[in-house]
């Protein structure tokens, strides 16, 4: 895995010290809140409903064991014993004290972590496939390119005051697990006609109050040219993106307003001026970064492990966990193990200090000290020997971390909502808890199959409701919470924005409404169809009818 060089280390320590001084000046009254606010936001510090919130970066969702262990320590030392993993593959702490945050940042710096690029109008942390470097279906590990994007974007002097925040996501697999089509820039690795590996460049996607699926601005850009091309896109956005209206300032609005052809013309024009400059990265440098993410020292194994098969046959609970949470690995004899942070009735994405420390220990023991955070708010141990899966599962189970529900109806993406967030208009966590309790029966979850429910507590859509097969948006109606349902959204390579089914539901009605949709699907599905497939075949009307009848 990538380790900081001296430059990275110095940069993070200097930033930490700068912020310590800024906090001291704020507390002593030398600077006002108005002056301090943009500074704290550049360091991941928000003021939420009950307290400050610190958002810590997990660049491209990759953590070492010692880093996750430190995140657990920080939860205990500076917070109330837990943290919340987010749809941006980051972690948030809900209760830090402003005067202690500089110490927390220093403790993070000790394990090469920070809160840079987690807020403010900059290029945010790049996200990617949580199975990078492990997935059987990937072309190449996307993380060397993510790290190069990280180095290009961190404190980029030209792009520190963009019109609005800017998000880049990368997938190295045709099966998009990073939702690249709903980011400002999505990069999809693929081969061109000459057999070279490069990227399709998709721009102008996004969720929030104005959701769009991104459009392709270039079918193929070679690896050497990727960074100058990204620079050209950012220059076009920085120059032409709107600064007159916060709600129209995202890149997606520009792409929508002037059209993809005009964006393409502007980007190509800019790129032609800079493509042979210093941002052209040669093969040797790329190779250097690929080396940093070299696979761990896998043993040479056969893919069949008799002991693993025997355990599965003997233990139904273990077999169920393997069925949903274990994914094929590229290396024979190994598997990818997903650690669900969605226990039935629990808070999606929350993990306690001791759970973080345990997963860190287990990753040392079973997965080369490598842990991933997923945008669906779970954790992953990416390189586990099949022969070790049963022991791993048993230890996870003891810590309530072995819920066998990955991709099922109870594996819900959910933002913090009005229980924590100052922007929220309704609560989202209690709904996710009640839905997961309603569908807690595992046989029923198996019967329903893959179903992605995503819940946001306001129009900003941190819970990705627009791309949920079933999306739920919490709103405020005359001081009461109510919930709007969207159907047909999809975050995958077949990305689509869901459509609003109709009038919203009260908090008391909404779980029944979701169940009626599922019951309808079970009644009309054809063999092998997931909920989203059935929806695509039959359209909105049959589902609308069960929700509203003659209403």
């Amino acid at each position: 895995m990538y380790r900081y060089d001296d430059f990275d280390r110095q940069l993070v320590l200097e930033r930490t010290e700068q912020f310590r001084e800024q906090v001291e000046r704020r507390l002593s009254g030398d600077i006002t809140e108005e002056q301090f606010r943009p500074l704290r936001l550049m360091n991941g510090v928000y003021l939420q409903l009950h307290a400050y919130m610190l958002r810590v970066a997990v660049p491209y969702g990759t953590l070492r064991a010692d880093q996750l262990r430190q995140l657990g320590y920080i939860a205990r030392r500076y917070d109330k014993g837990y943290g919340h993993f987010t749809t941006r593959q980051n972690i948030q702490y809900n209760w830090p004290k402003l005067d202690e945050i500089p110490d927390a940042l220093l403790d993070l710096a000790k394990v090469e972590m920070h809160a840079i690029q987690t807020s403010g109008n900059c290029i945010r942390n790049t996200t990617t496939d949580q199975y990078a470097g492990a997935a059987a279906d990937e072309i190449e590990d996307p993380r060397p390119y993510c790290e190069l994007i990280r180095q290009w974007s961190t404190f980029h002097p030209e792009f520190t005051y963009l019109p609005r925040k800017f998000k880049v996501a990368v997938t190295g697999s045709a099966n998009d697990r990073a939702a690249v089509k709903v980011h400002d820039i999505g990069l999809r690795m693929h081969h061109n006609d000459a057999g070279e590996v490069g990227f399709e460049v998709i721009v102008g996607g996004g969720l929030g109050r104005t959701p769009f699926v991104g459009k392709t601005v270039r079918d193929f850009i070679g690896k050497n040219d990727l960074f100058s091309y990204l620079e050209a896109i950012l220059r076009v956005y920085n120059r032409f993106g709107r600064r007159d209206n916060k709600y129209k300032a995202r890149f997606k609005i520009l792409v929508h307003e002037i059209g993809i052809e005009e964006v393409q013309r502007l980007v190509e024009e800019e790129w032609n001026l800079i493509k042979d400059g210093s941002l052209r990265v040669d093969d040797a440098e790329i190779a250097h970064y690929i080396e940093q993410f070299a696979p761990p020292a896998f043993e040479t194994l056969t893919d069949d492990d008799a002991e693993f098969e025997r355990r599965k046959a003997e233990n139904r609970e273990f077999a169920n966990w393997v069925r949903s949470n274990v994914i094929a690995h590229k290396q024979p004899g190994y598997a990818i193990a997903n650690v669900s942070l969605k226990p039935i009735g629990g808070i999606p994405g929350d993990a306690t200090d001791t759970q973080m420390e345990l997963v860190a220990d287990l990753s040392d023991q079973y997965s080369f000290g490598d842990v991933r955070v997923t945008h669906e708010q779970n954790l992953v141990l990416p390189h586990v020997k099949k022969a070790d899966l049963f022991s791993l599962w048993a230890e996870l189970k003891n810590a309530n971390l072995a819920t066998a529900n990955l991709g099922y109806v109870s594996d819900i993406i959910c933002c913090p909502g009005l229980d924590y967030c100052a922007l929220a208009t309704a609560r989202s966590i209690p709904l996710s808890q009640r839905i997961s309790e309603r569908f807690s029966d595992l046989d029923r979850q198996h019967d329903i199959g893959e179903l992605k429910i995503k819940i946001s507590g306001c129009i900003n859509a941190c819970g990705h409701h627009h791309v949920g097969h079933i999306g739920i948006l919490g709103l405020d109606k005359r001081g009461k919470e109510f919930y709007q349902i969207t159907l047909g959204g999809d975050a995958s390579e077949n990305a689509e924005i869901g459509k609003i089914a109709g009038a919203g539901f009260s908090e008391a009605e909404v779980v029944d409404a979701i169940e009626s949709l599922v019951t309808k699907y079970l009644g009309i599905r054809e063999t092998g169809e997931r909920f989203i497939d059935t929806y695509r075949r039959v359209g909105m009307d049959p589902f609308k009818e069960v929700l509203y009848g003659d209403r």
Partner: protein, 97 residues
């Protein structure tokens, strides 16, 4: 016109506080000074917004409240959550006691 109190977050620890009768800030809404009517509300907010308080609190604003069982309860759900803590973690926030 309804009853109002001023709330904010405390600068150093970020916790929710309410402007009290003696010009201080309390974690307990029942100790808040109540303004009755628009004019009184604006006067209360003006008092809470003086520059000198910038090193004590952040973002003061008015909320509507009702008298209930001898205490003050906000009329909006959002503000009720702020007086208690997360509804999904009743072991945390002021509700934890």
């Amino acid at each position: 016109m309804s009853l109002q109190v001023v709330t904010a977050n405390r600068l150093d620890d970020g916790l929710v506080v309410f402007l009290t009768a003696d010009g201080g800030w309390s974690e307990n809404i029942d100790q808040a000074r109540v303004a009755d009517g628009k004019e009184a509300g604006n006067a209360l907010l003006a008092e809470a917004s003086v520059p000198e308080l910038d090193i004590i609190i952040v973002g003061p604003y008015l909320i509507e409240v009702e008298q209930q069982d001898g205490g003050l309860v906000p009329t909006k759900y959002r503000e009720i959550l702020r007086t208690k803590g997360p509804s999904v973690r009743q072991d945390l926030g002021y509700q934890a006691g």
